[in-house]
């Protein structure tokens, strides 16, 4: 029962520290769901035993409490993953494939201005220009 509860607790922690680093376990956290499932199953078996032999397991109180807490942790993780991460604004005005990308100038990591159209065209000194991959990320490290 305790090992099940600890496994349930470990699932979101290991997702945040380990599995989030690998796309295959981040995009669909199957490893985390596996840990949650095993943890909840162990806890359920523990609760069953506690009710079967209450004199050995010192009463029935801890079982349901741990089971409830474990289920709450699992539900919270599922909510975070399936609902919270999808709460994004619509972005209807974003440039679409086939449209022109709005030009801009922004400072690079050295503070020097970089203009999208200049990058595409190439800036001399053997820089022939070409395609640019533009990545927007959430920021604040």
């Amino acid at each position: 029962m305790w090992s099940g509860f600890l496994l349930v607790l470990a699932a979101p922690i290991t997702y945040g520290t380990v599995f989030v680093r690998f796309p295959s376990t981040r995009d669909l956290p199957w490893a985390t769901f596996l840990i949650l499932g095993v943890g909840l199953s162990l806890a359920a078996v523990g609760v069953g035993r506690a009710y079967g032999e209450p004199q050995v397991y010192r009463g029935k109180m801890a079982g349901p409490i741990l089971m409830g807490l474990g289920a709450a942790v699992a539900a919270f993780f599922c909510y975070q993953f399936f609902v919270f991460t999808r709460q994004l604004p619509p972005s209807n005005g974003a440039p679409r494939v086939g449209q022109a990308a709005p030009d801009f100038t922004l400072p690079d990591q050295e503070g020097s201005p970089v203009t999208l159209s200049s990058l595409l065209a190439g800036g001399g000194q053997g820089d022939r220009g070409g395609a640019v991959l533009l990545i927007f990320y959430r920021g604040y490290w």
């Binding site: 086939g98 922004l106 690079d108 990591q109």
Partner: protein, 96 residues
């Protein structure tokens, strides 16, 4: 969102070789309609994750505007799209 000096430190620490751009006032993020209001630390506005592949003529050739910020485009996926579209890179820009 971060100022250039933070981007510089982060780039060095992570060993990235592409360019990091700083959109501290979220001007370009707004122009691309990617603002995620109040979603950052202390309820500041940040960008939602998105990737655009722009060809030398300035046309968007591919884009990925994720519906979950836990799921982003993967490097091998983007490299394949470069190949499939027959594009060669001028440089890799990052705006945030």
């Amino acid at each position: 969102m971060d100022p250039p000096e933070i981007n510089r430190a982060h780039r060095l620490k992570q060993g990235y070789e592409f360019t990091f751009l700083s959109d501290a006032n979220a001007e370009v993020i707004r122009r691309y309609d990617l603002l995620h209001p109040s979603a950052g630390p202390g309820s500041v506005d940040i960008s939602r994750p998105a990737e655009f592949l722009i060809d030398a003529a300035g046309t968007v050739r591919w884009e990925n505007i994720t519906t979950s910020f836990a799921v982003r485009a993967r490097p091998e996926q983007v490299l394949k799209i470069f190949d499939d579209l027959g594009l060669s890179a001028a440089g890799r820009g990052l705006g945030g």
